[in-house]
Every structure is written in C-alpha cells, then in structure tokens.
C-alpha cells in the first residue's frame, strides 16, 4: 500500500477506501461470485419456460416476479458466503494481521470490508438485473405486451440490493467473533432466515424476534405488483431503516473485532 497520512477523517476514509477497493477486486474474481452468477442466469432463463405454467398473472409479471426472486435468493446467498470467505481468507493467509500492523484502525478494516461487499452485491444484482430486463424486453416484444416500467424495475432491484447488504452486515457481525468460516456461514444464513420470519413472528408466538431486522419490508415483488413508484417518504423511511441496521451491525462488528485476538 502507499504511505498513508496517519490521522484525521480524510485519512480514515482513504484507508477504508483502499481496503474496500482491494477487497472488491478480490471479491469480483471469486469463483463463488461467478458460480452464483451463472446459476442465477440459468434460473432467469428457466423463468421463460416456467412462464408457461403461470395461471394467476400475466406472463411478463410472472417472469419479473420470478426473476426478482432469483436476484433476492442468490444475492442473499452471495452476501453470506462472500462475507465469510473474504473475512476468513484474510485471517488464514495472514493478510489481516499484516494490514492491522499498519496504521489502520480495526473499524476502518470492517468498514472497508462492508463497503466492498456492498459494491460486490451492487455489481452482482446489476448484472442479473440487466439480464432480467433484457429477458422481459425480449419476451414483451414477442407478446406485444406493455413493458415493465423501467424506474419501478430499478426500484425493485434497489430494494433487493438493500436486503442483500443488510444480510452481509449481519454476517460480518458474526464473522467478527466466529472462529470458523463454517460456523459464520451457517449462522449468517440462519440469521437471514430469522429476519425473513419476522412477518409471522407474532402469529407464531415468536414476539421476541421483534428486536431483529424485518426483511419482509424489502419485498421487491410486492413493489412491482403495486405497479407504481412507491412514495418518496416510504423510500426514505426504508433507506433510513436499512442505514440504521447496517450502521448498528457494522459498529457492533467493529467493536467485537477491536477486542479480537489473532
């Protein structure tokens, strides 16, 4: 790395950016990213075939629905597995120790990882989203049907990204204290499932789950089904909710990581 200025907010941001850029470069070249991307693309292609079995809704809406589901599912899996891999590979290879001997604070390291994961998930969801948009445009032109509104589709993909990055932040918190990648992966996936269970928490007598984030709020399919751009107030509220939890999990991860011994 270049010689870094040692103090001040600008210096912290620069260190965070450098760590983030390095991590993102590593993440994009992961075989996991490629594998999930190919699996997602395959499933999107399968949506075209499955569209023939759509009974309740128009074929385009079915394909959009299914495609957003693929984005969400693969994004969540990537968020958990990539976070775990990138964190523990640094520890196992000794890179983390080397970086932390430099004037890099532990919270800057965690923040850099989080920024890189957000970037990776943005690239991943954008790539699959473009593929889905292309599939919808192609099938729409064949059917002569009205296309799905571009801005609404962009909103829906954005909501999937918010959900995936929140899952990544949860997993990073687990990684900060976990001793094995396997445990961190399993715990990360379990926490994501728990967050999806929030809508049924009260009905199922699991009211204690209320302290956990509610991933049911990030429902891209419902957004698309509504057929109109959601109100700005709702988008801002959702964004604030997301930012609050990402900050909370990031801060907790940084605190735990600060006291971690290697």
């Amino acid at each position: 790395m270049d010689e870094l200025p040692k103090s001040g907010l600008a210096a912290s941001l620069r260190r965070t950016r450098l760590i983030g850029r390095h991590t993102l470069g590593e993440a994009v070249h992961l075989r996991l990213t490629l594998l999930l991307g190919l699996a997602g693309a395959g499933m999107l292609g399968g949506a075209r075939w499955l569209g023939e079995f759509s009974f309740g809704s128009a074929e385009l809406m079915f394909i959009a629905d299914f495609g957003l589901g693929v984005l969400g599912l693969s994004g969540t899996i990537l968020a958990v597995l990539a976070t775990t891999h990138l964190f523990f590979s640094d520890i196992e290879s000794g890179s983390a120790c080397w970086i932390l001997t430099r004037p890099v604070r532990r919270w800057e390291y965690i923040a850099g990882k989080l920024v890189a994961l957000a970037g990776l998930l943005a690239v991943f969801i954008a790539a699959l989203g473009l593929l889905l948009a292309g599939l919808l445009a192609w099938r729409g032109s064949q059917l002569g049907a009205a296309p799905v509104a571009g801005r609404l589709f962009l909103c829906a993909c954005g909501v999937q990204w918010l959900k995936a990055t929140l899952v990544a932040a949860m997993t990073l918190l687990v990684c900060s204290y976990a001793r094995s990648a396997l445990f961190a992966s399993g715990a990360g996936l379990l926490l994501a499932v728990i967050a999806h269970l929030r809508p049924i928490a009260d009905e199922a007598g699991l009211a204690w789950l209320r302290f956990w984030p509610n991933l049911g709020l990030f429902d891209a399919e419902q957004l698309l089904a509504a057929g109109q751009i959601p109100p700005v107030a709702w988008l801002l509220s959702l964004g604030t909710y997301w930012a609050g939890f990402v900050f909370l999990f990031g801060a907790a991860a940084a605190y735990v990581f600060k006291h971690r011994e290697f």
Binding site: F53, F55, G69, G216, L217, D219, A220, Q222, W234
Partner: protein
C-alpha cells in the same frame, strides 16, 4: 449486546413507519403460517411465490379431476397463501368451493343437499372475505360474493349489500350499482332504490355504452311512478 438490542429496539418506530407508508400490505402472518409444513415457506423467502402458487393451483386442479373435496379445498387455500395477488385464484377457487365440491358428495335427500350447498356457499364466502383482507378490497371479489349469495344461497339481502360494496370500489363495473338498485326493488324497498339511482346518475358518462345511463334514467322514472302510485 445490550447496546445492539437497544439500537434494534430504537429502530422499531422506523419499521412501523415503513409499514404505515408502504403502498401494499406486509405479507400476513396467517398467510405465511398457512404454508408452514408444505414446503412453501422457503420458496416465499426465495421470492418465487408466483411459481409456487401456480404449482399448488395445478395440483388443486388435479385433485378436482379426481373429485377429492378435501384435497381440492386444501390446495386452493395453499395457492392463495403462496400468492394472494392474482384475482384469478380467489374467484375460481371460490367457484370450485361453492359449486363443485357439494356436487361431488354422495346422493342425499333434497333437504340435506340444500344444507350442504349452504355450508359450501358459506365456506366460499369466508374464502372471498379472506381474499378482501389479503388481496385488498376489489370490485370483482364483492361481485363474486354477491353472485354466490344470489345464485347459491338465494340470499337477496346479502347479495344487495355485496353489490353495493362492489359499486363503491375504484374501477367498479357499472352494472354492480344497477343490480344493487334492482335487488332493493325486489326486497320491497323502492325508496332506497330510487335514492341510490339518483346518487349514482351524475357520475355516469353519457358516451359510455356500458354505463347504460338511459337505462338508469328509465328505472328512475319507473320508480318515481311506482312510489307516486303508493
């Protein structure tokens, strides 16, 4: 950990605000709980509920072909639990519950058959009322409820009420309001029918054939004459 819990609890008001402001309802607990044990919950988490619902609907139709009432009813419930958005499932599911299921039962005396038909009609009405809660109120759902009351149960009073509810929904078909007035007339309440028709008349476009503005005007005239004779 304490600070983490405190922070998450502090974000609860923001979650409630998001729920209040969202244009569509949050997936309902009872809806998701209905899928538990049927392999549907993970598909919901994966966001593939349209595909899941279509799968359940296919199986419901296979059960319909076998004339299996319990399986048909259960699979119809699973279909709407997986995906409550398409009206197609609600309307056709209700028709299957009200009209087909009682016809599959063993032959019985007329009184017993009527009782069965009434029970299945009530089942279908409860199903459609659940649809109004999960899907959201829709004119088509209320029209279906009205039709079931009128044709299956012979309940003119309830049918009139449902047609009125249908007429009050956005993008309601024009005939719902007219039929509500006709049913009020059948119930021996011409005064209410006249007041209703006068209320809807200004909103009926003259250049829209489906609105049947002339028909409504003729009915208003007929009701005025009927009331004048009394």
């Amino acid at each position: 950990m304490v600070l983490l819990f405190a922070g998450t609890l502090a974000l609860r008001p923001m979650e409630q605000r998001v729920n209040t402001l969202r244009a569509v309802a949050e997936p309902r607990g009872e809806q998701l709980a209905g899928l538990a044990g049927h392999g549907g919950v993970l598909a919901i988490f994966g966001g593939m509920r349209a595909a899941l619902a279509s799968g359940f609907w296919l199986r419901a139709n296979l059960a319909w072909e076998r004339r299996d009432p319990a399986a048909t009813a259960a699979l119809i419930e699973l279909t709407v639990a997986a995906d409550e958005r398409p009206l197609y499932f609600w309307l056709n599911g209700a028709r299957m519950l009200a009209c087909d299921l009682p016809a599959w039962l063993p032959p019985a005396p007329e009184v017993v058959r009527q009782k069965r038909s009434a029970e299945h009609t009530r089942l279908a009405l409860r199903f459609l009322e659940k649809g109004a809660r999960w899907h959201g109120p829709d004119a088509a759902l209320h029209v279906e409820m009205a039709n079931l009351c009128l044709r299956q149960a012979g309940d003119v009073e309830s049918a009139a009420r449902y047609y009125r509810q249908a007429a009050e929904q956005p993008r309601a078909p024009y005939y719902a309001a007219r039929i509500h007035a006709e049913l009020l007339r059948e119930l021996g309440r011409p005064g209410e029918a006249l007041a209703w028709l006068r209320q809807i008349l200004p909103a009926l476009p003259a250049d829209e054939p489906a609105a049947c503005r002339d028909v409504v005007l003729a009915r208003i005239e007929a009701l005025e004459q009927e009331l004048a004779r009394r």
